[in-house]
Symmetry: C2
Subunit: 377 residues, 2 copies
């Protein structure tokens, strides 16, 4: 049961209480797989910059970064409301980031309020340092709770996804799964989302191959999923994103698994650009297409695809590589960070709380209280 | 009518008669767009290496390289049969390469034979240097004829394709065309294949935008099509291959135009990997998908997709960039150079000899004598 990965698990972030005060330490994902470099963040601008540069990225872990970021601001005595605003707006598409910020901020503010109520009779001092210490501790506790919940969610998604694939691809020996971008330990407080499903199958000896889309422009697939797969001892093969078509045509894909940055109330799923073409290919070839994400990625306040803001990123991500130009000077570039998979192309959503399958009418809404836990035995 | 490109046309190759004998001079496409470097080839191994490294690539121009290569061998007194064999096998998928080799070799051999017949009475000397001089001149003439025919073919494809788009996308103002890989002057003795259609529309003021897939792994789109589009003053935008899905979803693509490396007798089209996913996306969105290629790309001896050999290329094209590793050491890689678009996903084939459209049964064969020239008015 112990995979090699578990002997030295990848940690995308950790809270460190140093002699000079607390820090949030990030594994700089832009340097992987070549170097394992740590970024020690002791200020909010440093953290926001790390989020923007994608030194840390991936929906669930962004939630943790948001929460720990608020805890950092509180512990270091920065203006918490300002910090929360900067962090929540560092990237617009991921819902988890603002959710994490909100949870830690709520813990912080409710503790301050409670403290004031408890002490209003005897002191009435709104600037009591003890109040801020308790509030900072509450923000950190909220972040740490999210962290543990995230690890639990990964485990559930891994189990549910593996069981679902038994039903969707019956009788197959080893499964050949195609994935896009990066969804493992690096994006999570646990083993990730889509990657956690592949890892669960691998531990059961049922993963024949993980096909890893390189995921242009920033190559999170070849760099990061490749790194995670190699560390876990999984059979994996990297391909240019557009070579996935040939794999489908050759019947080499049993299922596609992706993560999600935001799932709207109607099931529209924003994920790394390139997810939508895979969903169309999967449908064309009758291959199951699964979205694997924690319940926290579902944003019931976003009704549909129209309401999702898709971040457009800088041209140089496409036109330059390692400082070398690969396009004419001044070329116009279309570089959306995400695309949106409509619910009609999704075979199932694997959430930590259960598995949702579309009904026949294809007109359904994600409604968490009525989740159909078809694989929860 | 004179586009800026025509003031200094890109020349992918030229025959040069130097003081030390003839040479085939190639524009090294691996160095574009950063540098315009020429490769002076005076031996067959140098030329074969240039073909393998993709210093010169693209179906029509490979035919010219094959023919000029045989002419070079003949002019420099190398063993012509050996040279022809090495050249024809330098890359397996492109049918034009072996076709060009065959045409020049036939010119060479038939001239030798004619010479022997003419002179058998008076000399009978099979080693007569004059025979070889005449045969070498014939091989060169065959290559030069192909070169002129190729330029004519480009012009015809440009005209036919532009007229066909009038029919397929009626009433549109400026057209937004999506293309993949590189199909302009760099691949041709003229203005190319799919790119020639975009250029014809541009000259008519009817091209709103050329969407340029970057075309991983070797980035022929951003590097080479970007270079050609910039030199031609066309409105163009580069995108990661997998971002094309978002453009389709947003209704931003009026038609897809690709070239072809080989078209089988049933219409199955081998082209740069990534063509097939675009064909599936185009079908899903009801967008016309056109294959633009000279008649010489149609290989009636290849019955169908099964009979097409798809070249698998080296892992390092995917795992390295500018000497920097972007994947874990030893990662397995799936790197097919081409994929195959089935005729059922092709709206029309724009050949230099006319336009072919599939019939309703979708069970048709390309049969050149009965080409349906629907747009030849």
């Amino acid at each position: 049961m112990v995979a090699s990965d578990e002997l030295s698990p990848i940690q995308p972030l950790r809270w460190e209480q140093g002699p000079d005060g607390p820090a949030l330490v990030l594994l700089d994902q832009t340097q992987l797989p070549g170097a394992e470099t740590e970024l020690v963040c002791t200020s909010i601008p440093t953290l926001v910059d790390a989020i923007r540069r994608l030194a840390v990225r991936g929906a669930p872990v962004l939630g943790l970064v948001g929460a720990y970021g608020v805890a950092l601001a509180a512990a270091r005595g920065f203006e918490v409301a300002d910090a929360a605003g900067s962090l929540a707006n560092a990237r617009p598409t991921a819902v988890n980031l603002s959710l994490g910020v909100r949870r830690a901020r709520e813990a912080y503010e409710s503790t301050l309020k409670d403290y004031a109520e408890r002490h209003s009779a005897d002191s009435g001092d709104a600037e009591d340092p003890q109040a801020f210490r308790e509030a900072a501790a509450a923000a950190l506790a909220a972040a740490q709770l999210m962290h543990r919940q995230d690890a639990d969610a990964s485990r559930r998604m891994g189990e549910l996804g593996a069981r679902l694939l038994d039903e969707l691809v019956p009788g197959a020996g080893g499964l050949r799964l195609l994935t896009h971008c990066n969804t493992g330990r690096l994006v999570s407080g646990g083993e990730g989302t889509a990657f956690a499903v592949a890892l669960a199958l691998h531990r059961q000896g049922r993963l024949a191959r993980l096909w890893v889309d390189e995921t242009r422009p920033l190559l999170q697939g070849s760099r990061l999923t490749g790194y995670e797969a190699a560390r876990s001892g999984m059979p994996y093969t990297i391909l240019a994103d557009s070579a996935a078509g040939s794999l489908f045509a050759a019947g080499e894909v049993d299922a596609v698994l992706i993560g999600a940055d935001r799932i709207a109330a109607d099931g529209s799923t924003a994920n790394k650009v390139g997810s939508y073409p895979l969903a169309v290919l999967a449908r064309h070839h009758g291959v199951p297409f699964l979205v694997v994400a924690p319940e926290s990625t579902v944003d019931l306040e976003t009704p549909d695809a129209e309401a999702i803001t898709v971040e457009q990123r800088s041209a140089h991500e496409v036109t330059e590589f390692a400082g070398r130009s690969v396009a004419p000077p001044g070329a116009a570039v279309y570089n959306p960070a995400f695309d949106i998979v409509p619910p009609s192309l999704v075979s199932a959503y694997v959430l930590d709380s259960g598995v949702l399958v579309p009904n026949e009418s294809q007109e359904w809404r994600i409604s968490l209280p009525s989740v159909v836990q078809i694989t929860d035995g």
